[in-house]
Amino acid sequence: MSDAPATAAPTTAAYSPQQLVNLYRMMQLIRRFEITCNELYMQGKIPSTLHLCTGQEAVPTGVSFHLRASDYVFGTHRPHGHALAKGVRAEHILAELYGKATGSCKGKGGSMHVGDMAVSMPPAIAIVGGNVPLAAGTALAQKMRRLDDVTVCYFGEGAANEGAWHEAVNAAALWSLPVIFVCENNLYAASTPFETAFRVRHVADRADAYGMPSEIVDGNAVLDVVAAAGRAVARARAGEGPTMLECLTYRQAGHSRSDPRTYRTKEEEAEWAERDPIARFTALLLADGRVTQGDIDAASAAVEDEIAAAIAFAESSPEPDPADALTDVFKD
């Protein structure tokens, strides 16, 4: 069943100051990483195209709060936040975006396919909905191998109209697989508004059609995401099966590279800017008092260092040898 987002103001009480600062730090890292990518893209240092997740930082941050290195995460065409939150190092992602040999996929993947098997993140899948069957597959393996690891599958609301999504979500429910389906509902699929693609009001409404529990979450309230993801991950680890989380959020940037965003209103953008997940969380922390402005500034400074280091790493890294284009197709 799916209800409206919990409106009760999220409480910080359940978390240590360090945990709270870490949540801030990760959201800030994702935000600054994306903004930096955009600048570098504009400078022509990153080829082709980019799908940025600014405004959506709270979702992967809150979900990954509960994940281990051995848990699988499948990202989408908009995967930088999924990867950073899962623990892929900023320098390895940025090097991948630059197409450098030191990238997390040796430059073969690129922005839409960042991942790092060192932290159990396969290449992000840029076929909308295409990652869902794969995620059901890793979850099936986790179940058959009697592990208590879980799989997280991110998808945008637009993916819920793909056939592969339907087939795999049904199988996950049917077999009680340890997978959490995390919908980042940012109201648009490229230029297409939610209502242009759905007659129902919520993606979570569809979970019922598979007999799968679901929750609708304020995706811009990181502690709400932490709480909901905590319930879902616990269910999965306990062998109680999958959960669908619909996180309501908003993409502050364009869909990809220089998207003029003329398909939505400035008013709507302004409204959502009000609900910026980082600003909201910062205000909450300062009101709460256990975390000080000093802690936040320190975390922000650390993020700047990490970003600067990532740029230095990416720019100083070697390009792949053209001959490598022919390797890594088959494993012998």
Binding site: S48, K108, S258, D259, P260, E319, P320, P322, D324
Partner: protein, 337 residues
Amino acid sequence: MAQMTIAQALREAIREEMLRDERVFCIGEDIGVKGGFGGAFTVTLGLSDEFGHERILDTPISEAMIAGVAAGAALAGMRPIADVQYGDFLFNMMDQLANQAAKLRYMSGGTLAVPMVMRAPVGATARGSQHAQSLEAFFTHVPGLKVVCPSTAYDAKGLLKSAVRDDNPVIFFEHKLLYGSKGARQEKGAVSAVSEVPDEEYLVPIGQGAVRREGRDVTIVANLLMVYKAMNAAETLAQEGIEVEVIDPRTLVPLDKPLILDSVRKTGRMVIVEEDNLTNGWGAEVAALVADEAFEWLDGPIKRVAAPDVPPPFAPPLERAYVPTEAQIIAAVKSTL
């Protein structure tokens, strides 16, 4: 006469056909949204203002539905022009194209027709493995589908109009680097395919290739972006006294076999250039055709220049090693002499 990019020429073709025939409509993702992109490469930009959102129909992200709805609407009297944002996503609609649209007429004993066009952008543009493939050969192998691949604005307009009027399913491939898309959708490394487009209406018939350059020594068959690379290679080779004939098949099914065979019978040497992966690319079929029907005229091995058998890589240095180059074409031509 107007100078047009392929994106403009395709838009004009769609406009004219929609004005001419009310059964024609467009269906796809992000093709008509107000304030949107006009599809992934601006081809339908502005058309929803002119024709409304029923005839420029925005869909959910559901490729099998798009192809199946187009096929169903076609057999029920409409003439859909369907749009997929990247050719790679044709795999998501493969059943609807290869098992349904392509077979319906035959299974019905010829009592229905499926006049639909499926437009699909192909080509590697540093987007990585899932937004870069050239997929012609997956469809030349499906009986019941026609396969078109224009390389100039003139051909793009004339062939799309012919495809819309064709009573059969047509897979219409467009190369991302040839669109000449402007603004937000401009592509790095794009090649100008701008050409003169007559003001008066014209059609380019499906099934007729074009000789882009005459030559007596070696025949090159190349499509889409590779036509331009072949022409450059031919230019270079001419300076060395090697006269290459460059043929742009323009449509792969039906293939203009006489044009190709006659050229090979003249030159006795053949090179095929495609961005598609080598093994079982459409070039293999052209090679097999020539090795059978023009064998006696062949004076040297048939060479193919194609992408290697790997997925399209992302990093530019790797992608440059993936996409066939003029140097490779020149070397291949020489190896046939």
